[in-house]
Every structure is written in C-alpha cells, then in structure tokens.
Subunit: 220 residues, 2 copies
C-alpha cells in the first residue's frame, strides 16, 4: 500500500498512533488474531491468554509485543485508521476527479476495505468505547479528521452544483457513512453477494443519494 503522501487531508491528528512506521508482519498477525478473538468472545470476556493460545505463543512472549489487552484493541484500531488514511491519500492524488466523483470513489474504496476486513471493522465499531482516555480520544480525533474530509468534499460538490446546497454537509456525510459502514453488520463474505456487487450497489446509492433534488418534489 502506498505511503501516506503529503497531500493527504487525512494525516493523523496526533502522532504516535501507528508509531509513524508500518507495523511489522508479525505485529499484524498478532493484531488480526486478537481481532478474531475479540470478535468471537467479546472484548470484555477475552483474555491475553486467549490471544496467546490462538497464536500458539506463550503469554510472556505476547507481552513482548503488547503491554495489555487494551493495547491490542488500541493498536488494531489505530492500524485501521492508518490503512484508511492511506486510501484517502490515494483519493487525494486522483487530481482529475471532481468532488462528486471523488466521493463516489471514496464510497467504493471504503466498502471494499470494510468487506475485506469485516472482523476488524466489527471490533472497531463494537468496542472502541471500551478504550480508556487518552487513547479513545486520540482515535476519535482521527475519526473526526476523516469525517471532515468527507464533509468538505460534500461542501465542494455543493459548490459545483452536484449536491443540493440546502442540505447540511455533516448530515449528508453521516448518511454516506451509514450506507458504507452498516454492511459490517450483515454482509457475509463468500455468500449471496460478491464484494463487487456490494460496493457497486452502495456506491451507486451514495452517488444518487447525494444527487438529491434541491426541492422536495414528490414527498408525501
């Protein structure tokens, strides 16, 4: 995955979430296994011992990578932010796209990402509030940077006349987030729908949803 370039509007709000460097491969394996354990047993019930067992490691060896169970949760969520920030940096690099086209590509890329990372995304949304401050605040601050990026794109698309200007960009951005995030609650990989069908439908729904007519014609 390309590095997060200087043009990215989604630069982490605070340093240190990913320690500024990519996690090593073994670290990622630890975080993926932790996500699976948290997903299956619930973060509250899961133990560091469970994660060590699933990795085939001694608990003492796992503590070489992490300081606590919360550390695992924090780092797996921080890595999601690192990866999604990299997606946003790629979008920003697509200079030929108009704001509405960028929003459409944003929806497609995030749905694809979420569909391929369902377990981690489920843990993110189910358990982020189990983190204690200042870590929880740091990650919510990174989320706000992401949210502002999308609301700003909507504002630009409104200036272009592509999105109704009488609707609040923040409210609209939350409609977009709902459409592209909710799938983690019901989508089954390898089931009824391919990732492509899913992302295609969600992307078209978002594009069309944002192209809402400025008047309320047809409303009951």
């Amino acid at each position: 995955m390309p590095s997060n370039g200087p043009k990215s509007p989604a630069k982490p709000a605070q340093d240190g979430a990913g320690n500024g460097t990519k996690p090593r491969r073994r670290d990622l394996e630890v975080l993926n296994v932790a996500a699976q354990i948290f997903y299956e047993r619930g973060y509250a019930s899961a133990t560091v011992q469970d994660v060590a067992d699933a990795l085939g490691m001694l608990k003492g060896s796992l503590y070489y990578y992490i300081d606590s169970k919360e550390d695992l949760l924090y780092r797996l969520i921080a890595v999601i932010h690192d990866e999604v920030d990299a997606l946003l940096a790629l979008l920003s690099a697509e200079e030929q796209l108009s704001p509405i086209e960028r929003l459409e590509l944003y929806a497609r890329r995030v749905v694809e990402y979420n569909a391929k990372n369902l377990t981690r995304i489920s843990v993110y949304y189910h358990d982020i509030d189990q983190l204690t401050d200042p870590r929880r605040k740091e990650l919510l601050s990174r989320r706000r940077v992401h949210e502002r990026y999308v609301a700003d794109l909507i504002r630009e698309a409104q200036a272009d006349g592509d999105v109704a200007s009488d609707l609040d960009p923040k409210l609209l951005s939350n409609c977009v987030f709902g459409t592209i995030i909710w799938m983690y609650r019901w989508y089954k990989p390898g089931g009824e729908f391919s990732v492509e069908e899913l992302s295609d439908t969600a992307t078209r729904f978002v594009r069309s949803g944002l192209s809402v007519p400025p008047t309320r014609a047809g409303q009951p």
Copy 2:
C-alpha cells in the same frame, strides 16, 4: 398508538415476544431504566441490582417483573419490535401511497422513532447478540420479517420503474437500513440538528438514493 391491524406485513413471526398484549406502564418504566443502565455500564457489566437501585426498588421486587437480566434485554428488544411493527402497520394502512412514497415515509418514521429512542436502539444493536437461543433467534426472525417488508417494497417500486431494476432489492434495502439506523451512533438529541432536520435529510437521501439511474453514467 393504533393497534397492529390485520393488513400489517410485519406481524410478529412468532407468538409471545410481547405476550400478545401491550406492556403495562410500570413494565415500560422498568425496561427504559434497564436500557439506560445497560447503555451506561454495558450489558455484560450491569447487574439486576443496578437496575433495581436505579428504579428505587428492592431487587426482590424487580424479580416480580422479570426472571433474569437477560429477560430485561429480551423484553426491551421485543418492545422495540412491537413498536416498529405498529409503525409498519400504519404505513400499510396508507393505501394512497405508491411503493416509493411508502419507502420514503418508512425512512422518515424509522429515523424519527430511532432519534426518540436512542438509548434503547443503541442497546438493541450493541447487545442483541448477547441473548441466548431461542430468544435471539426469535428476535432475528422478527427482524427478517421487517427486512423482507422493505425489500418487497423496493421490488414493487422497481416494477413501477421508480427504482433501477438492475440492482438487488436486498442490497438496496441494506443501504436504506444503514442510512436510517447509523444515526444512533452519532446523533445527539438537543444538539446541532433537530430530529426534523435529521429525518428530512435522511429521507431525501434515501428517496434519491433509491432513484438511482439504471445505467452507470458518470462513474469514474
């Protein structure tokens, strides 16, 4: 609230979830307080004693209403289904509405309902999987009836030419659910946006999102 008429497509899939009768006022108070406690402390950590304390009751008296903590969770979720089924019955009674108009009104009513019941809705989505079978299965079966109602309306709107017929109704219905449910994660009553602004924007986004053009014109 009007009774759930015979025309309702959202008749409970199984008997007994609400015991076929409306819960008494004191029961509702118990369930609302339980929702608040589960929301604040987490269902896993909360105790029946916490709920009794918040109600100013002896724990023994609370056991007059319920058999267990899980009973509280089950009943508060079943009541949400009862209430939303009543909303669907009202929608079905609006015979003058076309399918797409009914979908629009559906989105508006559900967003309003969710905005006014944020605590209960949060507990619903965060904790439904903590229920054990057969209760969990029973409620998921009721949810599927609700989901089919929406997918069927989308299918009818496709037959009318109001929704692109090349998109799967189930995928589209999940885009709608995301838009109208996700607000429980971020909406603050009494904050930046009124319930009316929220429901107005979500409703227009859903109506416009469903009116997706049949071709992929404009896609990057």
